[in-house]
C-alpha cells in the first residue's frame, strides 16, 4: 500500500514523539514496531538532568563541562552546550505537559545526585537529576504519548521499518512491514526521522528490551550512510546478576554503594572524590578489575550493590521498582541484603551521524543528506562522546528530538516531495521473500545466541586485538550463516518469527560495525578500553570514527572526522580524574 505524508517518523519513544510534537500543522505518520507505550524509553529509571538549581547552586555550564569530561573529550562541544542549555527549558516544557516529577517540600521539581554530575567543574556531586521515583522514563514516555493523543498524531502501530528510500540525493520515504497482516507499505514523505533506539540485544547480558535490535542504524548503513563511533558502547555498572535488568544509578545517587566479596566499599579506593558516583565507564572497569583480582563475591563474577543503610523509607519511596526487580528476579530483599550485580550492555553512544538539528550528515565534511533526520539513541550528535553520563539520554531525546522536529517543520514548507526511486519496494520485498522461502536449514535463534555470547566474551568492558579479531571472524561466519536462515512460520498474519529474523539481520550489521570501530581505535577512551593500548591518545585519536558498509556482508570502510572543540580553556582535553 502507498501513502503520502509530509513527515514519516520511525520510532515512538521519547525522541520520535518529541519530534512529532513540533509538527502540529503537518501531516505526520509515526511508525512503531510496538505500541508506542512499549518503547524502550519507558525503561529509563533514574532521571533527566537539567541545571535548574532547585536544591543547590547549579549552572548549565557545569552540566556542559561534566558532559564533555564524562565523554572523555570525544564530545562535539557546541552540541554539549546546546544539550546543557536547552535541558532547562525542556524540563519545564515536560512539566507543563504533565510529567509527574517528584517534588521538593516547597513544591518545585526535586533533584538528586547522579554519576559524573558535579558542581563547579568537578568539585563534588550536585543535585541535577530531575526524577519521578525510579520510573522517570516511563513517566516521560507516558506524558509524550498522552500529548500525542491530544495532538491527534497518526500512529501506525506494529509496523516494522525495512528500508529507507533515497532519490535525487534526498531521503523520500520508508518501506515497512505491517506485522499484523504481512503487507508491505510505502510511506512517501518530504522528510524522514529515524528514532529507532539502540542495539543492546547484541550482548547476552543486557538491560535492553527485545526490541533493541539496531533497526534504524542498520537500515541507514545498508543505504551507504556511515555509522559514527560504534565502538563506544556503554556497559552500565549495575545490572542484576545474570539477568541484566538495570538497577538505576539513582540508587547510588541516593547513597547506595558498591561492595566487593571482601566486604570493602571499593570505589573510594579508585575515585576518591566521586567514589560510587564516578561515570559509568570507570565504575564498570573497577567492578571488572575487582572480579579479575579475586574480590568478586565468593570468587564469582559479581559484586554487590548495597542499599541497606538507606533505610526502608528511602528505598520504598524513591526506588520502588528496582527493589521489586531484585526481589522478583533474584529473590533478594534489598532492605536487608546487598544485591548481586554485574555490568550490563546498556547504551550506544554512537549511531547515525547528525548535526545539531538532527540532520543526518554522511561524511567527514558534514555533508547533509537532505530530508533525512535522526534523534535519540539511534543518532550520534555527538553529545555523549566516548561515554554517556547517566540522565543525559533522556536529555538527548527531548532536546534533540525537539530540534529535529522544528527543523523538519521548516524543511517541509521549503521543499516538495521528490519522486520515489524506481522499484522502490524491491529491496524490502526481496528481504522478506527470501526469508519466507529459504530452505537453508539455519536457525536464527542459534545465530543470535552465538552472537550474544561472542560480544559478551570479546567486545565487552575490556578489549584487545586478539579478542576483537576473534569476534570479527565469528560475526563474518554468522553473516554467512544468516543467508541460510529458514523459518517455520510462513504465514502472513502476525509472523513474529519473520520479524525476529529480519531484526537479527539488523543486529549483525550493528555488531560488525562495532567491532570494526573497536579494532581500528588503538587507544583507550571512555567506554572503549583496550588492554593492549591502555592510554588515551589525543594526538592520534581525538577524532570520530565513521564506518561505511563495504561490499561483502561483513566488510567496512573507515574514515574519521574531527571532534569540534570550543576555544575555552576549561573544556580543553585533559586527564580524567574524579
Amino acid at each position: 500500500m502507498y501513502q503520502k505524508f509530509d513527515v514519516v517518523i520511525v520510532g515512538a519513544g521519547g525522541a520520535g514523539l518529541m519530534a512529532a510534537m513540533q509538527l502540529p500543522n503537518a501531516s505526520v505518520a509515526v511508525l512503531s514496531k510496538v505500541y508506542p507505550t512499549r518503547s524502550h524509553t519507558g525503561a529509563a529509571q533514574g532521571g533527566v538532568a537539567a541545571a535548574l538549581g532547585n536544591l543547590e547552586e547549579d549552572h548549565w555550564k557545569w552540566h556542559m563541562y561534566d558532559t564533555i569530561k564524562g565523554g572523555d573529550y570525544l564530545v562535539d562541544q557546541p552540541a554539549a552546550e546546546i544539550l546543557a542549555r536547552d535541558a532547562i527549558d525542556a524540563i519545564y516544557e515536560l512539566e507543563h505537559r504533565g510529567l509527574p516529577f517528584n517534588r521538593t517540600p516547597d513544591g518545585r521539581i526535586d533533584q538528586r545526585r547522579f554519576g559524573g554530575h558535579t558542581r563547579n567543574y568537578g568539585e563534588a556531586p550536585v543535585r541535577r537529576s530531575c526524577y519521578a521515583a525510579d520510573r522517570t522514563g516511563h513517566m516521560l514516555l507516558q506524558t509524550m504519548y498522552q500529548n500525542a493523543i491530544k495532538n491527534q498524531v497518526r500512529f501506525f502501530n506494529e509496523f516494522l521499518a525495512l528500508d529507507l528510500l533515497i532519490n535525487e540525493g534526498r531521503a523520500c520515504g520508508v518501506v515497512a512491514l505491517e506485522i499484523r497482516t504481512g503487507e508491505i507499505h510505502t510511506f512517501h514523505a518530504k522528510a524522514v526521522l529515524f528514532a529507532t533506539g539502540g542495539y543492546g540485544r547484541a550482548w547476552r547480558v543486557t538491560s535492553n528490551a527485545f526490541a533493541c535490535m539496531g533497526d534504524g542504524m542498520a537500515i541507514a548503513y545498508r543505504r551507504g550512510i556511515p555509522l559514527e563511533d560504534m565502538e563506544m558502547y556503554q556497559f552500565h555498572p549495575t545490572g542484576l546478576y545474570k539477568v541484566g535488568v538495570l538497577l538505576s544509578e539513582g540508587a547510588r545517587g541516593e547513597g547506595a554503594r558498591l561492595l566487593n566479596g571482601k566486604g570493602e566499599y571499593f570505589m573510594e579506593r579508585y575515585m576518591p572524590t566521586l567514589k560510587d558516583l564516578a561515570p559509568r565507564d570507570i565504575v564498570s572497569r573497577c567492578i571488572i578489575k575487582e572480579i579479575k583480582e579475586g574480590r568478586g563475591v565468593n570468587g564469582e563474577d559479581y559484586v554487590y550493590l548495597d542499599l541497606r543503610h538507606l533505610g526502608e523509607k528511602v528505598i520504598t519511596e524513591k526506588l520502588p521498582d528496582i527493589t521489586e526487580f531484585a526481589r522478583n528476579y533474584l529473590g533478594v530483599e534489598p532492605i536487608r541484603e546487598p544485591v548481586p550485580i554485574q555490568p550490563t550492555a546498556h547504551y550506544a553512544m554512537g549511531g547515525i551521524p547528525t548535526d545539531n538539528d538532527g540532520r543526518v550528515v554522511i561524511d567527514s565534511r558534514w555533508t547533509p543528506l537532505p530530508g533525512f533526520y535522526a534523534a535519540g539513541e539511534v543518532a550520534c550528535v555527538s553529545v555523549h562522546g566516548a561515554n554517556r553520563l547517566g540522565t543525559n539520554s533522556l536529555v538527548d531525546l527531548i532536546v534533540f528530538g525537539r530540534r529535529a522536529g522544528k527543523h523538519m517543520a521548516k524543511f517541509i514548507t521549503e521543499n516538495d516531495h521528490v519522486p520515489l526511486p524506481p522499484h522502490h519496494e524491491d529491496f524490502a520485498r526481496e528481504m522478506v521473500d527470501h526469508l519466507l522461502s529459504s530452505k537453508g536449514g539455519e536457525s536464527a535463534a542459534r545465530i543470535r545466541n552465538e552472537l550474544q555470547g561472542e560480544m559478551l566474551e570479546n567486545v565487552f568492558v575490556e578489549r584487545h586485538e586478539k579478542g576483537l579479531q576473534h569476534a570479527m571472524e565469528t560475526i563474518a561466519g554468522l553473516q554467512e550463516a544468516y543467508k541460510k536462515v529458514q523459518l517455520q512460520d510462513k504465514g502472513k498474519t502476525f509472523n513474529t518469527e519473520l520479524v525476529e529474523a529480519i531484526e537479527l539481520g539488523f543486529l549483525l550489521d550493528c555488531a560488525a560495525a562495532t567491532v570494526h570501530g573497536a579494532l581500528a581505535r588503538k587507544e583507550s577512551r571512555g567506554a572503549h578500553y583496550r588492554l593492549d593500548y591502555p592510554e588515551r591518545d589525543d594526538v592520534n585519536w581525538l577524532k570520530h570514527t565513521l564506518i561505511y558498509k563495504g561490499d561483502g556482508a561483513c566488510d567496512a570502510r573507515l574514515d574519521y572526522k574531527d571532534v569540534i572543540l570550543i576555544d575555552d580553556p576549561i573544556f580543553k582535553p585533559k586527564e580524567r580524574k574524579y
Binding site: N102, I149, A445, G491, E497
Partner: protein, 235 residues
Amino acid sequence: MKVTLRIKRFDPDKDAKPYWAEYTVEASPVDRLLDALNTIKWTIDGTLTFRRSCAHGVCGSDAMRINGRNRLACKVLIRDVGEKVTVEPMLGFPVIKDLVVDMDPFFRKYESIKPYLITYDNEPGTERLQSPEERARYDEGTKCILCGACTGSCPSIWGNPDWVGPAAIVNAHRFIFDSRDQGTAERLAILGQRNGVWRCRTIFNCSDACPRGIPVTDLIEQVKRAIIYGDRNID
C-alpha cells in the same frame, strides 16, 4: 526441571477454531515464564506467537492468562507456576493469533477519557508548583503500563465489550486527582455515562491482576465518589 506448557493456539490463516498444544521444555525455577515461551519458539515451534519487549515488567507487552489469571509472562517465574502451566490469550479481547490479542479497542477506550493534562491558565516561566502531598494523591495511577491485565480480567468487560474498563478509569484518576489539571468536569462527565464507572461491580479481579500493584478497584471507587459529590477533593 521439566516444565509442560499447555498453550491455547489459533492461527486465522490455518485454523477454523482454537486448539490446545502441549510443549515440554527444560527450565530453571528462577526463569521467567517468558523464557520458557522463548525456548519453545526458538527450539521447538517457531510459529508460536506472542508479544514481548522489555522482559522485566515495565513495557506491558506480554500480558496473558497464566493458570487462569492475567499476568505478565516476564514477571512470573517458573517456581511460581509449577511444572504444568496453562497459557491462554487474555479474555475480553479479540484474538489475532495465538497469545496476541487486538489492543486497538483498549487504546481507543484509554483515549476516550482524555488522558492528558488539561489546563486553561497561562504556563509559568518555570515549573508549576505542586506539593509532595498533592503529588502523592495521584501517584498510584501513574504506575500504569497499559498492559490490559486489569481490563481483560473484568467480568463486566467480558459481558459488555463497550465498557470503558478499569485501565481507562485508572488513567482518568491520574488526571482527575492531579492538582495541576483543570479538566475534572469533562472527565467526570464522560465517566458518568452509561459505559463509564457505573458498570464496575467491585469484583476486585482488576486489583488482583495488576502487575504494578495498583489498587485499581479503590481508584475506581474514588472516581465514583468524585462523580457523586461533583468534587475531586472528597475522599
